[in-house]
């Protein structure tokens, strides 16, 4: 948090800061994600720029009070461009000892910690691993502490609504939210509206939650706050004019697929199988039946991709989605789509691996799988989304490429981009150029092997078209007729043409741009995917200190933009930060024979800005 000025003279103590990081932490049943989302919406309405980071456990309802059951929601908001969820926490809300012990390490010295002291029972302290009560032993002296028996306050506030003890205590999160909203002068209106809608059928629950929210707010306003705790004023951010909404990557990607379907004039069949953190796409799309869309929850990952392939064969756009382990299962079928040259979109919302790994944490370790993770020579386009809002355009691009080149396309997203939310200046769909698909219809000279001479795309002839009856399949086919062929020269030719078709896509994608800095110089930081925010801020801060560093963020992971090699060769040093052990850096080194250096992190957490900054400085200081 950066303090701009103290406003001690105003009636209530307050000070102006340009940015703040708040983390709400509690049991997975404490409603921290809901609390965080409400605060996010109020903050967006207030006019701050923001980014969020929901961080929840893999267990749905871990035993109450357990450290492994702590669910957290972090929001970073401020008056300047915010592109990450923030490095250090300024305000920590801890609903129990487990939430405190697992999150305190990220709180800055002097930071504010709000705790529910009623939850600091002997039993909960033991579960969290505390020998002494941290509220009493002085171990929180480095921080500003607000210790409140929230349970007691809530029970008092919701008494008039006659809820059971259990239901009454469920309002604790709203009480706490009310308190934090006062600290940051957020409006409660959108939360109140939301509660009334959510509990429309149970007005007493809605009323109790609203009462708890207001009581928390009133408590902060009227209670004698300990010294050092005051209202923060975070000036509104200067953001580009336009209509805004909050979006998660999952929402933007879903909408992008629907938009892509309309631009291509194609119905979509979305076939998927539940897997964390990818299931959100299936949920979001299943609720949009007004569009030309059918969603299908298949019996397994293989059936999901196969149903999508079947749909593409029949003239729809087949889309499937999963996370790394599920994509492994789909591998054989993706190769079939490569062999039969059918459009197909595969969304991989990456998570920590290998195997079950860290299902609810983020990682970028499926790039190698996307590029190489199939049998035989099956090159296919791979594109990566860098922010929540970027998911919209990436999805449209995937549809454009898949249908223009009749090929499977992999979209790489990740758990961070999928679940986080950010304000989005909503685009006007009318600004997007349509790319309607034309199916084959003329039997004259028809062969299923016919290609578009420019794109090398195989002709797309759908069942139901008279006179174009034909067979496709996984067996190698004759270049001219499309009939089965075991001819050696033909196999070479077909392999060549399939590869050429994909390589040629480099001529149909935008040239790589430099996100920040000069087009040549000392150092370029090359990122891809959700590391965008941290790299952007890290490079920005270093440039403000006068360092010669640029930022290139790659969307088209394969084929790579045709000018990327020349761009990279304009820099003396290349740094590639990735949330994996160095997958893209290997691609860059092998493709361009340049001495790119890795910066790797696989902790399940996104990069912090200062980690990028530190490595930029180290690179610039070291003698090459």
């Amino acid at each position: 948090m950066s303090v701009v000025e103290d406003l001690a003279s105003t009636s209530s103590k307050s000070r102006v800061v340009c940015d703040v990081v708040i983390r709400f932490a509690g049991d997975s049943g404490d409603g921290m994600q809901l609390t965080g989302n409400n605060f996010t919406e109020a903050t967006a309405i207030y006019g701050n720029d923001l980014a969020t980071f929901p961080d929840f456990p893999a267990e749905i309802r871990a035993p109450a009070g357990a450290t492994f059951g702590v669910s957290a929601f972090q929001i970073y908001f401020g008056s300047e461009g915010v592109t990450t969820a923030g490095d250090d926490v300024d305000v920590l809300v801890a609903m129990n000892p487990a939430a405190l012990i697992t999150n305190l390490g990220d709180l800055v010295n002097g930071g504010l910690v709000v705790v529910d002291e009623g939850a600091f029972t002997a039993k909960n302290l033991v579960k969290a691993g505390y020998e002494n009560n941290p509220l009493e032993d002085g171990s929180l002296d480095a921080y500003r502490l607000m210790s409140i028996d929230i349970g007691k306050q809530v029970l008092e506030a919701v008494k008039p609504f006659g809820l059971s003890h259990k239901f009454a205590l469920r309002c604790k999160n709203m009480w706490t939210l009310g308190l934090v909203m006062w600290l940051f002068e957020r409006s409660r209106d959108s939360t109140i509206d939301g509660l009334k809608k959510k509990f429309a059928a149970k007005p007493e629950i809605a009323d109790a939650n609203v009462a708890a929210l207001n009581a928390g707010h009133a408590y902060a306003e009227t209670a004698e706050l300990p010294s050092g705790i005051e209202v923060y004023k975070v000036p509104r951010a200067e953001v580009a004019p336009g209509l805004y909404r909050n979006t998660t990557g999952t929402e933007a990607l879903s909408y992008g697929l629907l938009a892509g379907g309309q631009l291509a004039s194609l119905p979509i069949v979305f076939a998927s199988y539940p897997i964390t953190p990818a299931s959100g796409l299936l949920h979001t799309l299943s609720d949009e039946k007004q569009f030309d869309l059918v969603t299908f929850q298949a019996e397994d990952e293989i059936a999901a991709v196969c149903a999508a392939i079947g749909a593409s064969f029949a003239g729809s756009l087949g889309v499937t989605s999963s996370s790394g382990p599920g994509i492994s299962l789909k591998g054989e079928a993706i190769s079939l789509a490569c062999a039969t040259e059918l459009p197909l979109i595969i969304v991989n919302t990456q998570r920590g691996g290998p195997s079950t790994g860290l299902p609810t944490k983020t990682e970028q370790s499926d790039l190698n799988q996307a590029l190489f993770g199939r049998h035989a020579d099956t090159s296919l386009p791979v594109i990566a989304s860098s922010t929540c809002a970027d998911c919209f355009d990436v999805a449209i691009e995937a549809v454009r490429i898949a249908t223009t080149f009749t090929t499977p396309v992999i979209i790489l997203s990740d758990g961070y981009v999928a679940n986080a939310s950010e304000p989005w200046c909503v685009p006007d769909f009318n600004d997007y150029e349509p790319f309607p698909v034309e199916f084959a219809s003329d039997p004259e000279g028809f062969s299923p092997a016919n290609r578009n001479p420019d794109t090398l795309a195989r002709i797309w002839a759908k069942p139901g078209t008279p006179g174009l009856e034909h067979r496709i399949g996984g067996i190698e086919k004759d270049y001219e007729t499309g009939d089965i062929s075991y001819d050696p020269d033909n196999h070479q030719k077909m392999t060549d043409v399939r590869k050429s078709k994909i390589d040629n896509i480099a001529n149909f994608i935008p040239a790589q741009t430099v996100d920040q800095g000069n087009e040549s110089g000392e150092l370029v930081v090359v990122g891809w995917g959700s590391t965008y925010g941290a790299i952007r801020q890290g490079v920005k801060r270093c440039r403000e200190e006068g360092m010669d560093v640029s930022h290139i963020h790659v969307r088209y992971m394969w084929p790579l933009p045709s000018n990327l090699e020349a761009l990279l060769k304009g820099f003396k040093k290349i740094l590639v930060p990735e949330m994996n052990m160095g997958q893209f850096v290997d691609v860059i080194r092998s493709q361009f024979l340049v001495d790119a250096q890795p910066l790797n992190k696989v902790s399940g957490q996104p990069f912090k800005i200062r980690e990028i900054e530190a490595e930029i400085k180290a690179q610039l200081e070291s003698q090459s």
């Binding site: 580009a240 909404r245 949009e288 999901a304 006007d428 008279p466 009856e469 496709i472």
Partner: protein, 339 residues
């Protein structure tokens, strides 16, 4: 395309591809039966789609002059489900075998039957892996010697019709590769059935499992070994129709009885009821040599198909949902304006 509709012939249904099954393979007879049947169905050729997995039987689509997709091992039901979801108007046939459909693809077969996707699923059962050179399959009888079971197979075989009924299939039938006269009307019924129809076809593999169905294919043995099912008729068999199937109410088991012996009359013989699932399950379990094996429709109990329900549900939602407007979608929920 306003040309007068001409009736299709067998020739119209045959692709220009050379058929590459082994000489004497039962698949030839099935292919011929289906090529003859298809023009009789009230379906334009451009709407016919044959989808297969991997195996000898799965080469089938290459020989049909229709739309066809030779996919990957075991996955034809999943691909076919996607085809029907994309375009319910298409007439989709799935061609599979005992290895493709019941081993690697068992899960998909289970679910496509349970969901009741409107497909005709023909399982060519030759009780062996042919294309990979003769390993035992999930329907091979115990003791089958093969390259992978040189001392005889140990595990119990799966019975395809039992599997299908257990999975929730609503049309389950059985025929024999060379019995064109029997198979033709059977497949016509399978085709007319709305929802998933499952047909097991006993199919001889002359190379790796020759003669495995001789006990039932042989015309001389047919009377004793086949139980020809006819809905509403008593289940009799034998050269003079003198034998029949009776339910022993005390043991809840089917038994073979002879009419005129031990006071048994035609009245005692079980009457086939296609809509009776319990009876179908019992029939599916009958096997030689102790019992004749049921040929024909074991079970038929139609219900709305999956894809029809999917589209109907979508229509219902659309009555109250907004228009398919991307700009409205993007602006749904909470928005705010800057500047």
């Amino acid at each position: 395309m306003n040309a007068p509709v001409q009736k299709l012939t067998v020739k119209d249904m045959s692709s220009d591809q050379e058929v590459r099954w082994c000489p004497g393979c039962g698949d030839y007879a099935i292919l011929k039966t289906i090529q003859k049947l298809m023009p009789e169905l009230d379906v334009p050729r451009e709407n016919m789609v044959f989808i297969s997995g991997i195996g000898c039987s799965s080469r089938f689509p290459y020989y049909m002059n229709t739309y066809g997709f030779h996919t990957i091992h075991g996955r034809a039901p999943a691909i076919a489900s996607g085809v029907k979801l994309a375009n319910p108007e298409l007439d989709v046939w799935v061609i599979t075998g005992d290895g493709d459909g019941l081993s690697i693809g068992g899960n998909h077969l289970l679910h496509v039957l349970r969901r009741n996707v409107d497909l005709q699923i023909l399982l060519f059962n030759n009780e062996i892996y042919g294309l990979t050179k003769g390993q035992y399959s999930p329907t091979s009888r115990v003791g089958t010697t093969s390259p992978s079971t040189p001392n005889g197979s140990i595990d119990l075989p799966l019975r395809p019709c039992t599997f299908a009924i257990g999975a929730g299939a609503r049309f389950v039938a059985r025929s024999i590769d060379t019995e064109t006269k029997h198979m033709t009307p059977l497949l016509e019924r399978a085709h007319d059935h709305k929802g998933a129809s499952f047909v097991e076809i006993y199919q001889n593999c002359p190379v790796y499992n020759d003669g495995i169905f001789d006990y039932i294919k042989d015309k001389k043995k047919a009377a004793e070994s086949r139980l020809l099912l006819e809905n509403g008729s008593p289940m009799t068999f034998g050269s003079d129709n003198e034998k029949g199937i009776r339910l022993d109410p005390k043991t809840i088991r089917l038994e073979v009885v002879t009419i005129g012996e031990d006071g048994v009359t035609l009245e005692d013989i079980l009457v086939h009821d296609e809509s009776n699932k319990v009876m179908a399950q019992m029939l599916a379990e009958l096997k030689g040599p102790d019992f004749p094996e049921p040929i024909g429709v074991l079970y038929c109990n139609p219900a709305e198909s999956y894809e029809a329900d999917v589209y109907e549900q979508r229509e219902l939602v659309r009555r109250t949902s907004g228009a398919p407007d991307i700009n409205a979608l993007l602006r749904g929920g909470h928005t705010w304006t800057v500047g």
